[in-house]
Every structure is written in C-alpha cells, then in structure tokens.
C-alpha cells in the first residue's frame, strides 16, 4: 500500500510547476508551429496558481487535494488544455482512495484518462495529449516501472510528430499538421517525467 504524504504532494506540485515554467517557452514554440502559440503560457498560469495555493491544498487528504488542484487548473488554464488537464486531476482525485496499491492507482488513472477522452470527445491517434495518456495507461497495466513509464511517455510524445491532427487546433491545418510534435502531448510527457523522478527517489 502507498500513501502519498502531504510533503510528497507538496514536492510533486512544486516540481511540476517549476518544470512547466522552465519548459513554457518550448511548449509555446510547439504550439506556435501548429496551434496558436499559447500552450506554455496556459500551463504555466495554471501550475503557478496551483503552487500558489499549495498550503491550502496540502492540508487536504490526497484525493481532495488532487480534485482541488484539478479544479484550480480548470479555472486558470483556459483554452483546450485547461478542461482536459483539469479533468484528469479532478477525476484522479475522485477515483483514488486515500491509501492505494498499484492496481488501485492504475484503475483511477484509467478512469481519469477516460474522463479526458470524454471531455475532449476524442480518442487515440488524433495528435493530442491522449496519445501520451493512453500509452502511459497501458504501461501501468503492463506492470512497467515508474521510470519505464516516463520513457514511454516521452516516446509517445515523439510519436505524435508524424500524425495528421484530427482534433485540436492543429486539425485546422490538415496536412500541414504533420511533422510537428503535439504541444499537449509534450506537456503530459513532461509531467510524467517529473512524477517519475520524484517517485523513483521514494524508498
């Protein structure tokens, strides 16, 4: 059984927020190529807001903290990524018991991914962040290690490059969307790698 302590949660959120800030320019650059050039700024605004609220959040039990963080993201990120990333954390919080094993986490994660797909009316293969979330889910189900999952997430983000977008702003470009990494996919891979390096350090 795992139990993420309030300190772990703090550390995780802080690390995610600083990774997003450090990568905001790169994410925006990706969005400039096939979107509208705001993805980095959107994500940074959201994670900064969550980090600013950390004292309140960390005082809650983990599921509640995740739900509140997700709601905060919804209320601050805006754009397409706001409802999607927000829904992911809200659902994860809703589905995760306070104490959970790998199977419990995997189940909650799967439900969160399904909620994102439902919110986006989208599925795998459309050049969106789902193209990283689904492979992560499969890797979880396959029993892959935390480090392996992060690697898979990074590869999945790379694998969005040749895809023709049919969802999100990039879909407006038709054929011209081919040859660029999806910014939302890059964000999710980034968050996965942050989470992995945190959890790997755990005893």
């Amino acid at each position: 059984m795992t139990r993420l302590s309030s300190d772990d949660f703090r550390a995780l959120v802080t690390a995610m927020a600083s990774a997003v800030a450090d990568n905001a320019e790169r994410l925006t650059e990706l969005d400039r190529a096939i979107g509208d050039g705001d993805h980095g700024a959107n994500m940074q605004r959201g994670f900064d807001a969550v980090a600013a609220d950390l004292d309140t959040l960390a005082a809650k039990p983990l599921p509640e903290a995740l739900k509140a963080a997700g709601m905060k993201l919804v209320m601050t990120v805006g754009g397409a990524s706001g409802p999607l990333v927000g829904t992911f954390f809200m659902t994860l919080g809703k589905e995760l018991p306070e104490e959970f094993d790998r199977a419990g986490f995997t189940e909650a994660f799967s439900k969160a991914v399904a909620a994102v797909a439902a919110r986006g009316k989208s599925h795998q293969g459309q050049k969106t962040l789902l193209d990283v979330l689904f492979p992560m889910q499969a890797a979880l189900e396959d029993g892959k290690s935390v480090g392996e999952i992060a690697t898979i997430a990074g590869q999945a983000a790379e694998a969005t490059i040749p895809i023709l977008a049919t969802r999100g702003r990039a879909s407006f470009l038709g054929e011209r969307s081919i040859g660029h990494m999806d910014p939302g996919a890059a964000s999710v891979a980034l968050l996965a790698s942050v989470a992995a390096s945190m959890l790997e350090q755990q005893p």
Partner: protein, 333 residues
C-alpha cells in the same frame, strides 16, 4: 514586438478597463474582471452570453448591449475563458428566461462552455442552451474531427439572435434561429502578416514579403496553405468561389456581404475587397442586400481580411436591421 502596452501581463486588464470606461453608458465590468455585462438588463428576456479568447476585439465585449449580447467573457489572449467566468456571467444576467451560450467552434471554447453549462445545471438548475458557430470553410468539415472554426459569421449570429431575443423569442426558438443563421453563413480568411501575441513577444508565424497565408483563422494559426501574394481580385475570386461552392444554391438569394479586417489592414483595402467580392457574388446571381465592412473579428495586429456571405431571407434581414446599441455596432437607437 511593438505594442502600446505596459506589459504582457496587464495588457488585457488595462484594455478591458479602458473599454468599460469608454462605454460606461452601455456596459459594466464585473468587479473581478471576469465578464463584461450589459448595464441595464431586460427582465424576461433570454440572456445571451458569449466569450472566447481575447485579441479579437471588438468581438465579443464590443457587442454587448441592447439588441445583441447580455454578457461577454474575455479569456486571455487567444485562450478561451474559464468556466467560472461563464457561470458568474450567466448568473449575473439571467432574469429567469434562461441563458443561451454562443460559442465559436474551438475545442477550448466548447469544453469550457460545456463545463460551465454542466455547473449551471448542477448548481442552480438554470436553463442553459448552447449554440455553436462554425462558419469557416477553410477547414474541411467532418463528424470525426474538430470540424470548422467559428469566425466572423459569429457576429452575424450574435446580431440576429440578439434582435430576436430583444423581441421576446424563447430559449429554444433562439437556439434554432442561431443554428439557422450559422448554416446560412460562410467565411474564408487570408493573412498578409502574422500577429504577435503579447506574451510570446514575436510573430506567431514567419512570412516572406511576397507571400500570404490562405485559409487562416483568427488566431495567427497557419492557414491551409502558403501561396504567393496575388492581386485583390484573384484573392477575392478564390475566397468567393469557395464560399459559393460550399453554400450551394445562391442565385436569386438576398445576402449580407461582410468584409472583415483582421486588425492590421486599413479600411481602404477592405472597401476594395468589398468591391471585388460584390462583383463576384453578383456574378453568381446573389443580391447583396446588406453590407458590413470593418475590423470586427480580429486577430490582434494581423494584416488581412475575411469575407463572409450570409444568405438572409426577409425575416433575417429584418432582424439584422433591428436596433442595436453596442460599443462596436450601433444603429436605429
């Protein structure tokens, strides 16, 4: 980047403050800056709420007022607003007859308005309906994709639905009317320059001296293709032929011709495009019964324009002509 601003983080709030000061007879800004609302509501009227990313001014706040919108929610530049904005706006302007959200078809806007509608239903049981605009034919339509963007035709939908709301039409009727107007509108855009998002500090796309982006939207996103810059007549021809083809039967129909500037293109060029487009549409037997020319649905400082043709029957023409008193559109009152 050269902009009249104090900083990328305050440009939006300062601009909104100036807008509401300049039009204090028509609108007020909610205390937290989450939405712009009509100063005086009309009890019993269905409330019309729109919104979207900023950078398209005067859309949408410039269309708040008598005969058009009751509230507009401005997001960050080119970023859809968040659900709390729509919820608070809807609560502020709902006088009991229900709320219609008018949403441009971008997944960000659609999802955030969806969440807001769900919250409204959960929290207050208020009647909320959504109307999606998607008039941009530069994007191929399909059930399995995002589909077409909502662009300048949104103004036409907001004007006509706004007039009907003012006349007392109910929520279901307004949604159906809006869908009908949206289906009657087709738009196509071309850009001669990129725009520059304040937070990004540099142009969204690079474009050479002799080039244009054909089939652009209103976010500085690249268009369907890059093409050599052509004459106004050649550009208008390709835009108008696309619109006519997509509309199908147009001969003998009355229409509104709306030439919309993207923010960096002056009126001289827009009227020239009007001249060119009118001749082309008239060649197809369209009767240009109404005209609108100006920068109404913009993309910051982008140079270029869109052409919208809206086929309007007598009922819709009458609603177009009905009095409107907003910051950006005003007649009859």
């Amino acid at each position: 980047m050269k902009k009249l601003m104090n900083g990328a983080d305050t440009i939006l709030s300062e601009s909104l403050a100036g807008f509401t000061q300049a039009h204090a007879d028509i609108v007020t800004l909610d205390g937290s800056g989450k939405f712009v609302r009509r100063r005086e509501l009309r009890p019993g009227k269905v409330a019309l709420v729109s919104g979207g990313g900023s950078g398209h001014e005067p859309l949408h706040a410039g269309f708040v007022g008598i005969g058009m919108l009751d509230a507009a929610c401005p997001g960050q530049v080119f970023t859809s607003p968040t659900p709390d904005q729509m919820v608070e706006a809807a609560q502020a302007v709902d006088t009991g007859a229900g709320v219609l959200f008018i949403v441009k078809n971008y997944e960000g806007d659609v999802m955030n308005f969806d969440m807001a509608a769900e919250m409204m239903a959960d929290m207050t049981g208020a009647q909320v309906q959504q109307l999606i605009t998607n008039d941009d034919i530069a994007v191929e339509d399909s059930l399995f994709t995002t589909g077409r963007r909502g662009v300048a035709g949104t103004l036409v939908v907001e004007k006509i639905v706004g007039a009907a709301a003012e006349q007392g039409m109910d929520l279901a009727g307004l949604k159906a009317l809006g869908e009908r107007v949206n289906r009657a509108c087709r738009s196509f855009g071309v850009a001669l320059s990129s725009c520059t998002v304040p937070a990004a500090g540099k142009p969204t796309f690079d474009i050479g001296e002799g080039e244009m982006e054909f089939g652009v939207g209103i976010h500085g996103e690249p268009g369907r293709r890059r093409a050599p810059l052509a004459t106004a007549d050649a550009i208008a021809a390709e835009m108008c032929e696309g619109i006519v083809k997509d509309l199908g039967q147009v001969a003998g129909r009355n229409a509104l011709l709306f030439v919309n500037g993207f923010g960096g293109t002056p009126l001289m060029e827009l009227y020239l495009m009007h001249h060119s487009a009118r001749r082309l549409f008239e060649g197809h037997g369209v009767q240009i019964a109404r005209s609108l020319t100006g920068s109404y649905v913009t993309a910051l400082d982008m140079a270029g324009c869109s052409i919208t043709l809206a086929l309007l029957d007598d009922d819709l023409l009458a609603l177009w002509d009905a009095p409107v008193r907003t910051a950006a559109l005003r007649w009859g009152v």
